[in-house]
C-alpha cells in the first residue's frame, strides 16, 4: 500500500513538473506562432512530426542522449505535450474577433498590454483545453517511464507483466486510469466555467 502511494505520488510529480514546463514553452511558442505565421507553420509541423514518432522509439532515442532516469521521461512528456498546447494557443489567439483587438488598439493599448490584458485572458479557456488533452495523455505515457529507469506507477505494472500477475498489473493500472478520468472530468468542468466567464 505504501509502495503504491509512493509510486502514485512519483507519477503525479513527474507529470505535473513536465506539464508546467510544457505549458510555459508551449504557450510561449503558441504566442510567437500567432505573431509570425510562417514560424507558426514550421513549429506546428515539427511538433506534429514529434507527436507521430512512436513513444517507445522516442523514449529509447532520448535515453541514448540523456541517459536513464526521471529527467529523460520528463523531456519525452514535454515533447509529446507541446503540440496540443501550441496549437490551441495559436488558434485561440488568431481567431479572436478583430473588433475586440481593434477596440483595445483604439483605447491606446500597447502591443504588450493588448496581449496580457485582452488577448491572453480571452484565449485562456482554449489554452486550458490544450493543457487538459496534454495532461491526460501524459498520465498514460508516463507509465512507459519504467523502461528507461524512471519511477511512477509503470514500475508496479511492469513487474506485474513480468510475473504474469493480473492483480499486480491492475493495482498499478487502476490509479492511472482513475486519475486520468478524474482530470479529464474536472478540467472539462473548469474549462466550461472559464469559457462562460469570457463570453
Amino acid at each position: 500500500m505504501r509502495e503504491l502511494l509512493f509510486a502514485t505520488g512519483e507519477h503525479l510529480i513527474i507529470v505535473a513538473l513536465s506539464m508546467i514546463v510544457a505549458t510555459l514553452v508551449g504557450v510561449g511558442l503558441g504566442i510567437l506562432s500567432s505573431w509570425k505565421k510562417r514560424f507558426g507553420t514550421v513549429i506546428i509541423t515539427v511538433a506534429e512530426i514529434v507527436q507521430t514518432i512512436p513513444s517507445l522509439a522516442l523514449l529509447a532515442l532520448l535515453m541514448i542522449i540523456f541517459g536513464l532516469g526521471n529527467l529523460t521521461m520528463g523531456i519525452a512528456l514535454v515533447l509529446y505535450a507541446l503540440l496540443p498546447i501550441i496549437r490551441n494557443t495559436q488558434v485561440a489567439l488568431t481567431e479572436l474577433p478583430p473588433a475586440i483587438i481593434d477596440a483595445a488598439r483604439g483605447m491606446g493599448m500597447s502591443r504588450r498590454q493588448r496581449l496580457t490584458q485582452v488577448e491572453i485572458p480571452l484565449a485562456i479557456p482554449m489554452i486550458f483545453g490544450g493543457i487538459k488533452v496534454a495532461l491526460v495523455n501524459s498520465l498514460s505515457i508516463a507509465v512507459m517511464g519504467v523502461l528507461i529507469g524512471s519511477g511512477g506507477l509503470g514500475y508496479i505494472i511492469y513487474r506485474g507483466i513480468q510475473q504474469r500477475n493480473m492483480a499486480r498489473i491492475l493495482i498499478g493500472a487502476i490509479p492511472v486510469v482513475v486519475i486520468a478520468l478524474f482530470f479529464d472530468w474536472a478540467m472539462t468542468k473548469i474549462e466550461q466555467r472559464l469559457s462562460t466567464h469570457t463570453t
Binding site: I148, G154, I157, M166, A173
Partner: protein, 213 residues
C-alpha cells in the same frame, strides 16, 4: 560509422521487420475500420446509445498501452494474435468517434433534400452522408494508424514481431545501435503512414467539395 556497418549487415532482417510492422498496422487498422465505421453509422441512427458507447470507448483509450498489452499477455499469451487483438481494440476509438461526428454533422438540409427527391435511406447514406463525412472518417483512420504504428512497437513485448523487437533488444542489452535500428525506421514508418493517408484523404474527397475548402 558502426551504425552504418550494422545496418548494412542487417538490412535484410530489418526490412522484414518493417514488413511485419506494416502488416500489423494494416491488419489491425483494417479490422478497426470494418468494426468502427458501421458501428459509428449505427450510433447516428440510435442517438440514445451514442454517448454511452463513445464514453466507454474513450475510457478504454485512457488505459495505457503497456497495461493493455499486459492484459493481453496474461489472458491470451504470447504471440501475434494477442498483439493483433490489442491493436485492433485500440484502433477503433478514433475511427468510431470521427465516423459518428462526421455523419451527425452533415447538415439536415442535405439529408432532407435527399429524402425529398425520393432517395431510400440506403441511398441517403451512401450517396449523401458518407461522401460528405469522408474527410473526418479518413482523418480518424489516420490518427488511428499513427497510434497503431506506435503501439505495434510496444507490442514487440508480447511477441508481435516487427520493429519493436529491435528496440526491446536494444533496451534489454543497453545496445544503442539496436535501439536506433528499430527507432528510426519506426518513426519514419509512422510519418509515411500519416502522409499517405493524408494524400488518400485528398483523393477521396468528393470532387464537388474540393473547390470550396
Amino acid at each position: 560509422m558502426k551504425l552504418i556497418t550494422l545496418f548494412s549487415s542487417n538490412w535484410h532482417p530489418l526490412l522484414s521487420s518493417v514488413g511485419t510492422h506494416s502488416m500489423l498496422v494494416i491488419i489491425s487498422v483494417g479490422l478497426g475500420i470494418i468494426i468502427a465505421v458501421p458501428l459509428g453509422i449505427l450510433l447516428t441512427r440510435k442517438s440514445g446509445a451514442a454517448p454511452i458507447v463513445l464514453a466507454a470507448a474513450s475510457m478504454v483509450q485512457t488505459i495505457p498501452g503497456l497495461v493493455m498489452l499486459g492484459f493481453a499477455l496474461v489472458l491470451l499469451g504470447i504471440g501475434r494474435k494477442p498483439a493483433l487483438a490489442t491493436l485492433t481494440v485500440y484502433s477503433i476509438l478514433p475511427i468510431l468517434q470521427n465516423t459518428y461526428t462526421g455523419i451527425s454533422e452533415v447538415p439536415f438540409a442535405y439529408t432532407d433534400a435527399a429524402k425529398g427527391i425520393g432517395m431510400t435511406p440506403m441511398q441517403v447514406l451512401f450517396k449523401v452522408e458518407l461522401p460528405l463525412a469522408v474527410a473526418p472518417i479518413i482523418s480518424g483512420i489516420r490518427t488511428s494508424a499513427v497510434y497503431i504504428v506506435s503501439w505495434a512497437t510496444l507490442a514487440g513485448m508480447i511477441g508481435a514481431g516487427g520493429l519493436g523487437d529491435w528496440i526491446w533488444t536494444g533496451l534489454a542489452t543497453y545496445n544503442t545501435d539496436y535501439i536506433l535500428l528499430g527507432a528510426i525506421p519506426s518513426a519514419l514508418l509512422a510519418l509515411l503512414f500519416s502522409a499517405s493517408i493524408a494524400l488518400l484523404e485528398r483523393l477521396l474527397k468528393p470532387r464537388g467539395l474540393r473547390r470550396i475548402s
